[in-house]
Amino acid sequence: MVPVIEAKKLSHAYDKRNILKEVSLSLDRGDALALIGPNGSGKTTLLRLLDLLERPYSGRIYFNGDDVTRSGRRRLHARRRMALVHQKPIVFNMNVFNNVACGLKFRHVDRKIVHRKVERILELVDMSDYRNRDARMLSGGEMQRVAIARALVTRPEVLFLDEPTANLDPASVSKVEDILARIISRGKTAVLMTTHDMAQGQRVARKIGVLINGEILQIGSPGDIFFAPVSKRVAEFVGVENILPGTIVSKENDLAIVNINGVEVQVITDLAQSENVHVMIRPEDITFARTRDASSARNVFQGVINRIIPLGPLTRIEVDCGISLLGVVTTRSASEMELKTGSNLYASFKATAIHVIKRG
């Protein structure tokens, strides 16, 4: 099957500053990919290039197999089969109905059909009662829904969303996510969205891409991205806070022992002995106890609490066990265990909870 949209080695620069570096990706109908990445990583630029609002500095874009990188007429034709919802959507100075009808009018759709389609889509986004309201007077969440309706009404084959919930309150966020989930479940549209909210990426999309500094460093399932990041940069971005450099000192089947700064940690890996590695442990995978016998994990270390940082219902603790480990406990259990800076503590984690990658 030909992908509905495909980018091959897209590069772009503004004022000689590289924004995108040889980005390649492709989406089939029904795919949903969430691009996550820090601010300024090139997410918006990538969407604008793919929606054909701008021409890339180099690289190719294919829409249903057609090269639409340059030719003006083909670009308009392809653009009319895609839609982009901007991060801060602007609505036109007209009522909600006419705003939503815009795309259809540009395509010279018959007036009666316009009416029917707009009404149906307003219902989908739960805005039917607003049809005659001045769109400029709507709240942020309502405007976002109008913008999504305006994009959906043309039945795009590809839907791009740039941080669709960045400026919304929690209630509006879940409304927008519901709408997106419905569109994705229909399987007719390829959805590519950007977000800096990793959890949202996981809630809405089946695949996640990590875009950092203009490069896609990893594309995979949420599980892959969060638990098996391919590089230190990805790991840091997706919240793996314990990234420890070490060397594999022995190996038996899959079970290896990594020496980290004198401390020996047991891990599961297929990397070979004497390999230099990064050992990655998510803070949530470390359990803490006041006594040793509580844990069945292979790795149990005694340490001293260096720092306690309360974060509402959770508390972060930094424990020095020869290696410095960051973990979280619920604030309730922190007070039950009477955790204090300087007090002794056992940190434990399973060999399977550790992700190991090559270093250097």
Binding site: R80, P89, I90, R150
Partner: protein, 236 residues
């Protein structure tokens, strides 16, 4: 003072009784200015779109030039058009000198810079994202320009009103190009000039009152339009 008051009363009488000469002059002024304004709109909307939405060398220079031409002396335009259409001029064979058509040409040239400047400034008051949003919704260039024009409709209408105001109140160009021929090219402004020279203050006053009344209407329109939307006077 009594003379003045008498002239004023007479003038009102001429207007109220719809004196044929006065009405004829007023009507001619109105349609010549309206025709010039209409031509300007047809020229300035697309041209203004092209200038505003495209980057090119010398754009800033062009914008400053336009601003300078806002206050182009009417007699200079009159002289220029006169030279063009006079019998020995390059357009002499069209026999346009001392015709209303030539006056329309003159007024059009006179108000184009101002209207173009105001149209561009109206565009610059529109959020840049409008263009991009329209494009991403599938608009072609023309459709995207149209969306922008609609977004700026109040400042656009102000531009039209101000253009019309300058056209109908201008005297120098009409005088030189039209020749102030009674019943053919005499307008409100050139008429006032003529009647004063002839000592017919009532007639001059009547035309003046009509002109003031028109100016008042235009200003009310501009005021109402500007109240509807704040906009940038000119891009910096």
């Amino acid at each position: 003072m009594d003379d003045l008051w008498g002239a004023f009363v007479q003038a009102i009488h001429l207007i109220v009784s719809r004196d044929p000469d006065v009405m004829d002059i007023a009507w001619r002024s109105l349609w010549i200015a309206a025709a010039s304004t209409a031509i300007c709109v047809v020229v300035c909307l697309p041209l203004g779109s092209l200038i505003h939405f495209n980057r090119f060398r010398g754009k800033h220079l062009l914008l400053s030039l336009l601003q300078t031409l806002f206050s182009m002396p009417t007699v200079v335009v009159g002289l220029f058009v006169y030279i063009m259409v006079s019998h020995s001029g390059p357009l002499g064979m069209l026999n346009l000198v001392f015709t209303p058509t030539a006056m329309v040409i003159g007024q059009t040239i006179l108000i184009i810079p101002m209207m173009l400047g105001l149209v561009i400034s109206a565009f610059s008051g529109v959020d840049k994202a409008v263009m991009e949003t329209a494009t991403s919704l599938g608009a072609n260039r023309l459709q995207a320009y149209t969306v922008n024009i609609k977004e700026a409709k109040f400042p656009m209408m102000t531009a039209v009103a101000m253009g019309f105001g300058r056209a109908i109140s201008e005297v120098g160009a009409s005088m030189i190009i039209g020749g102030n021929i009674v019943g053919y090219t005499m307008t409100l402004t050139t008429g006032i000039n003529r009647y004063i020279q002839m000592g017919d203050l009532e007639q001059a006053f009547a035309l003046g009152v009509i002109l003031m009344f028109m100016a008042l209407l235009i200003n009310i329109a501009i005021y109402l339009l500007q109240k509807r939307r704040q906009y940038v006077w000119f891009p910096s």
